[in-house]
């Protein structure tokens, strides 16, 4: 209530005073995270605040206490009644959010999503990297490391996790087309959410397939578990391990040469992109296919989805810096 009064006061002074133009041009941008307090979204929050300062706009993140779509709905309702200009959200569940996002747009609020290309009631969704590219980058790394010889295994967080399987599909089909010497040892395993399970599975696979040359894990714990197993067998160098992993967790293994590397995207940059895009749209700028955008670089526009091409490479050289960010 207090806030609303303050806002009205601000608008009033805006109309009367000379600072008015300034106040109107500077939007308030709020981003609703999946869940607050975890390293990924802490980094995103840092990006949001940095870019907010740089552009001189009020930008902040709201982090629900648990990854519950209902909490996100409530957070967005609050933001609507606070009268922010731009709402960004990383949805926990796309469908649950649709009605409340529709309401936000009806009130003239600009709505942006991230990691949710299917969302309907939005102005734009942006992806730091397409699923296709993320999968293929890993496939290329595997092809380079193994010289396209032997067999490989793919881990995903669960056999029904859409994002992980889309990455895995892209990687496998690239390898089928470009690296036919390398064969898939078995269908993909849904163990990548647990260090224990992926470690046990890797120990079994090392025994069952003597030509196993690489493991690709699209799920952050799987990379760590596979690397531990490979190291336990003293096969670092013979069996390549790569995939998504959190830099702080994997840095020791990267430096020991057990994890070759991997790709992901930067939550810090995603945070910055929320603010930069929000400010652009608020100022009425158009987004077109092939445009050069701040933070995101050159983009392709597919319907309402903005695809950037910003893979973040994890390697011996970058892992420490990223780990320092708490990732």
């Amino acid at each position: 209530m207090k806030y609303k009064a303050l806002l009205t006061a601000a608008t009033l002074t805006g109309i009367i005073g000379s600072t008015g133009a300034m106040a109107q041009e500077s939007p308030t941008i709020a981003v609703v995270a999946k869940v607050g307090g975890i390293p990924w979204f802490n980094a995103m929050e840092m990006g949001i605040e940095q870019m907010g300062e740089e552009l001189g706009v009020e930008a902040y993140m709201v982090g629900p206490t648990s990854a519950d779509p209902a909490l996100q709905v409530r957070a967005i309702e609050d933001l609507i009644s606070r009268g922010v200009d731009v709402i960004g959200v990383v949805p926990n569940d796309r469908e649950v959010l649709e009605p409340v996002l529709e309401r936000a747009r009806d009130q003239g609020i600009i709505v942006l999503t991230h990691e949710s290309p299917e969302s309907v009631n939005i102005d734009y969704d942006f992806e730091m990297i397409s699923a296709q590219q993320l999968g293929e980058e890993h496939a290329k790394l595997l092809a380079d490391t193994t010289g396209c010889e032997g067999s490989y295994a793919v881990y995903v967080g669960g056999l029904s996790v859409p994002a992980h399987n889309a990455w895995a599909d892209a990687a496998v089909s690239w390898l089928d087309d470009n690296c036919s010497g390398l064969t898939q040892a078995a269908d993909r395993f849904g163990v990548a959410e647990s260090v224990d399970d992926s470690r046990n599975t890797t120990l079994d696979l090392l025994r069952a397939h003597e030509d196993l040359a690489g493991i690709m894990s699209f799920g952050s714990q799987g990379t760590i578990g596979a690397a531990r197993a490979v190291k336990e067998r003293g096969l670092e160098g013979d069996v390549a391990v790569m995939g998504l992993f959190s830099p702080g967790q994997g840095r020791r293994l990267v430096h020991e040469g057990v994890i070759t590397g991997g790709f992901q995207w930067s939550p810090l940059d995603a945070g910055k992109a929320f603010v930069a895009l929000g400010e652009m749209l608020y100022n009425g700028e158009e987004i077109t296919d092939g445009a050069e955008l701040p933070v995101l670089g050159e983009i392709t526009l597919d319907g309402k989805t903005i695809f950037a091409s910003q893979p973040l490479k994890l390697s011996k050289d970058t892992v420490d810096e990223l780990a320092e960010l708490g990732l």
Partner: protein, 332 residues
């Protein structure tokens, strides 16, 4: 009466052992890597944490209770013990680590026991509560941040027995030995002491046990305290094996372990179950998983096959109960 009870227990474990042996023979013939020291040692290393949990849980089930908070409690133990050791005790060592883990785990278990005994709440409700409470506190105080820099004594694995193998080596590690100690201790208490018999008695009929002078609070305190202690030890071993502490690494482990223990002949009604059964239950599920990987079965079929094996094992070991009473009596 007592003899028949004993016989029936041997029955369940006998069936389970036969199924396990049959499975092992099939796998030994079908793959050339199953019956190797490397594989068998890996199985023991990898299952030691689950078996330590299982022998703790079987005590609670025999006493007629249930606990689903133990896996989360183990995560709490990992955090509390490592934080204490690294911040106040200069990193610590194995002895201190194990003792502290036992102590913290036992305290968490006793907290369950206190609620169950003092306030007479059903154990499943209490442990659903503490499951959420423990995990909630853990997330609140850690903000989900993992500990990757664990002390050196915990980081480096401790080999006990090392044999050469085709790829790498076959090594038996410390957690397997700790597991054997916990198994023997639990077995001794349950099968060789009067107190163990009192736990069985209390589990099958609490009221008559109480009337015959069994101290109910001692039973509750021991059952949940022992499970807590086992969970503490298992938690430390898990952190040792994966060389890090992740807050949600163990949550979700409680149901597979509960399934394994029930598979091993324990019932949710109390009074039945044994350490041997619990160990066999865990091993059966582990061998199935191991075999599926070695055979190269598609992972899309894993759950289906695991589900089938559980149903087959439960059905065969319960066949005895379907026979008419007279036939059963003759067998005794």
């Amino acid at each position: 009466m007592h003899k028949r009870l004993l016989n029936r227990r041997i029955g369940t474990e006998g069936t389970l052992l036969s199924i396990l042996m049959l499975l092992c023979v099939v796998l030994a013939l079908a793959t050339d890597s199953f019956l190797t020291f490397q594989n068998l040692f890996d199985l023991l290393n990898n299952q030691s944490v689950n078996i330590i949990f299982a022998v703790g849980l079987v005590v609670v089930l025999i006493a007629g209770g249930i606990d689903i908070s133990f896996a989360v409690a183990a995560s709490v133990v990992q955090y509390v013990v490592l934080s204490l050791l690294m911040n106040y005790l200069g990193g610590g060592n194995w002895l201190l680590g194990i003792l502290l883990s036992m102590l913290v785990g036992m305290l968490l278990g006793l907290f369950n026991a206190l609620l169950i005994h003092r306030f007479r709440i059903v154990s499943i409700i209490v442990t659903i509560g503490t499951f959420n409470l423990f995990f909630g506190l853990l997330m609140y105080f850690t903000s989900g941040v993992s500990i990757y820099d664990i002390p050196d004594w915990l980081y480096y694995s401790v080999p006990l027995l090392d044999l050469p193998a085709e790829r790498g080596s076959a090594t038996l590690y410390l957690p397997a030995a700790v597991m054997v100690v916990m198994v023997i201790l639990t077995w001794f208490i349950l099968a060789r002491t009067g107190f163990g018999r009192a736990i069985y008695g209390f589990g099958s009929n609490p009221e008559s046990a109480r009337r015959s002078g069994v101290s109910v609070w001692k039973i509750h305190a021991f059952a949940y305290g022992w499970l807590g202690l086992c969970a503490g030890v298992a938690g430390l071993m898990q952190a040792h094996i994966v060389q890090e502490v992740v807050p949600n690494a163990l949550i979700g482990q409680e149901l597979p372990i509960l399934a394994a223990v029930v598979l091993g002949g324990a019932t949710l009604g109390g009074g039945r179950g044994s350490v041997l059964g619990a160990v066999l239950g865990v091993l059966l599920l582990a061998v199935v998983q191991n075999g599926l990987n070695l055979l190269g079965v598609t992972p899309y079929a894993f759950r289906m096959i695991v589900g089938l094996i559980i149903l087959i094992a439960i059905t065969t070991s319960n066949l005895g109960n379907l026979l008419p009473r007279t036939t059963k009596a003759r067998n005794v």
